[in-house]
Amino acid sequence: MHCKIFKMLGIFTVVSMLLFASGCSSDKASSDKTKTESGPKDGGTVTTPIVGDPIFNPWHPNAYAESNLVNRVIFSGLTKPGKDSAPAPNLATKWEASDDGLVWTFHLREGVKWHDGEPFTADDVAYTFNEIVLNKALGSNGASNFKALDHLEVKDKLTVEFHLKNPWAALPAYLSFNAEILPKHKFEGKDPWELTSFNKEQPVGTGPFKVDKYIAGQSLELIPNEDYYEGRPHLDKLVYKILADKNTHVAQALSNDLDIFVLEDKASLDRVKQAKNLTILPSETTKYYWISLNQENPLFQDVKVRQAFLLAIDRKAIIDTVLKGYGTIADAAIAPNLKTYYTNDVTHYDYDPKKAKKLLEEAGWKDTDGDGILDKDGKPFKVNFEVGIQGDLVQSAQMVQQYLKEVGVDIKLNTLEWNAMIQKNVINRDYEMILNWWTYPTDPDVFAQYHSSNAGKGNNIPGYKDPKLDELLVKGQQTSDPAERAKVYKEMQQYMSDTLPYLYLWYPQEIQIRNKRLKGVPKMYFGGTLYYVSEWYVEK
């Protein structure tokens, strides 16, 4: 009896000692780097994590981030994000717009086959858009991006026309943004959201990989499409592991179980930097964080107040603290990686609390009773600040709150569960001040988030209505010549930085973690590299 106890005690003690030791021991999991000949080799498996079960249908209302990462590998769009960010050919080889900009003709690639052997034709493109995207009753994911689209017409087997309600220069860019084509022969006559044999089991696409094995809640294994039009992919297998917990992503990357993903929790950054088998690649994304001050609220209608708020926030400090330096200050809505359209020649709001206080004073806000809070007509400057609990939103919001308090604005911070936040702030527009982000395809057309017609029910969250901005938005949307467009958008950025429809915070950098054995991945944000997954290869 005694022996049993001491044996158990012994085991317990050894285990706990090992646990303590594991905190300070070095990695055993390093691959030795011997010089091998360069050039892609066939074979190998690459694994990447997703946080939930995917739906194999890019237009399905429930297809989010995790589904997007899978669908762009199984399916193909007419265009795809180019390595230099301009839309590149994919299922379409070239395209042109009519003189009035209302009809775009897309010439499709010849000889493309669906995973089940059927030929890909213009009928599939027309079906996807006419019957699924444009069918309002279906509520397709992303359909609102195609507001300008009226209908499609098939000209011949490999030519299709997009008929627009108004000129829309961003069409090719939006066709590369989660807008993959679905096979008509699979969906015709059926309800596209009810076809679970396709959406949840065996989809049929034209992409470089197709579904081999899917275990719900656990993993998805894809194998190469031998007939892929850009050549058979090098890899033998692409695995998506379904891991809800992001901490395990890091642990698994360290043990060589995961090869590539985006690091969200920057607290693990140091641990990853020490790992011998991983590299860290920061990349630019088309994403910006903002604060929205509800324009229906008279408190925020004075541009001086908005400018003062932005001057009061030390954005550099927040980037260094919360984002660990991985981000750049934003002063307008166009991200720096849209190189053709981005300009830094805008009004900047370097951290200046004194100037902020001065501007607020000009707007009528003074601390007359010495309580540290500004007031006007006897009323203190109190603001309800709401933020959804997701990623680094709460941390950022807390810092913003502190900075604004220092200039005398009494901010009450309310953190809401994501669903509740969407219901209250986005659906009901019931808020005073919120913090969030926008992400969009590599095109400067931000009509949806800024035009006055989108206030209230659309994506113009602040409800900002400005005829001059409207004019610039429409002009930019409808001008086809990139050089002319660039001029319009540069003017627009200057105007945005002056009028601040949203308070621009920063453009975050994405931190991509990659196993050193994985090669052939283009220098892009992770989501973009997946469009080139057929070029990836592994070195033993």
Partner: protein, 309 residues
């Protein structure tokens, strides 16, 4: 016997009804809606179209009535997030959770009872104190942290065990090891403590003294006479543990990527997948009812003092 069964059946039906009503109203009244409606970039138009498609524009009472009438006929509808039948989604995940529960119970009961007996028999000795210490640690250590630590130790550093998934065939035990260990950190101490206190009570009884006086060997006294009686309360603890393990080892499942019921429930609730939430509720309630029933039957058989029928 018949009366007992009829009473039980009646009570179960009422219980099921109450649970489904409360759950349905709670989940439907929570702010937000199905995830497809809650996308940041969905326009009011899109939301309206989807709401109508999912039948969510009808009042809550009406929707409950519709759900109930369908459910009674066995139709639990389709999951609002994936479109697959709710029954399919649940039956996909249930075996994985049952597997985890089974092995956890076997391990916890097997080791727990033995340690509990030792702890009771050697009361206030070094063995007793160390067993109690480890029990306390097991109950207090957050399973999330311990799980990550184990992964770091066994998967990253030693590379002995896989860090996630279910695995198949002969390798299965490698995948089961860590999740079962984590789930046992609460189940095992519970059984140890219950066995210990139950044994302490039994060992002081008269009939134990009689058995010793009769000259029976000590191990016969402990294991044959005392333990059999001491196990009775432990059986009801097991009855409580089973639904808890089956219904949701969420954290363990999340960290180890184990496709089980716990994660299913949480994902369903967070995504306001009303149909799936209801389906899972019904299954879990059913399991609780059945296990309690079985425990009561076993109880009656073992302990002649308890007369259920």
């Amino acid at each position: 016997m018949l009366n007992f069964l009829i009473n039980r059946l009646w009570q179960s039906i009422i219980l099921m009804f109450i649970v489904t009503v409360i759950t349905f109203f709670l989940i439907n009244l929570a702010p937000g809606g199905p995830a497809s409606l809650m996308r940041m970039d969905a326009t009011a138009e899109e939301r309206a179209a989807l709401t109508e498609r999912m039948g969510l524009d009808k009042p809550v009472m009406v929707r409950y009535g519709v759900w109930l009438s369908d459910a009674i006929q066995g139709d639990f509808g389709d999951s609002l997030t994936s479109g697959q039948p709710v029954v399919k989604r649940v039956t996909e995940r249930l075996p994985n959770t049952i597997e985890l529960t089974l092995y956890t119970l076997i391990f916890s009961i097997g080791v727990g009872v033995v340690l509990g007996v030792i702890s009771a028999v050697k009361r206030n000795s070094a063995s007793d104190y160390s067993i109690n210490l480890f029990s306390a640690i097991g109950l207090s250590v957050p399973s999330f942290w311990l799980a990550i630590m184990l992964i770091y130790l066994f998967s990253v550093i030693l590379q002995w065990l896989p860090s996630s998934g279910v695995g198949d065939g002969t390798e299965k035990w490698k995948y089961l090891l860590m999740p079962v260990l984590i789930l046992s950190t609460t189940a095992l101490p519970t059984i140890i403590r219950f066995t210990r206190s139950s044994m302490l009570e039994v060992v002081s009884q008269n009939y134990i003294r009689t058995a010793r006086a009769k000259g029976a060997k000590e191990w016969v006294v402990i294991y044959w006479h005392a333990l059999r009686n001491a196990l009775i309360p432990v059986i009801s603890v097991i009855g409580v543990l089973i639904p808890r393990l089956l219904g949701g080892a969420v954290i363990t499942e999340s960290v180890f990527g184990w496709p089980g019921m716990g994660r299913l429930i949480v994902e369903a609730a967070q995504g306001r997948d009303y149909n799936l939430v209801m389906g899972v509720t019904v299954i879990v309630t059913l399991i609780v009812i059945v296990t309690n029933f079985l425990v009561d039957i076993v109880y009656s058989k073992i302990d002649p003092r308890v007369k259920n029928f």
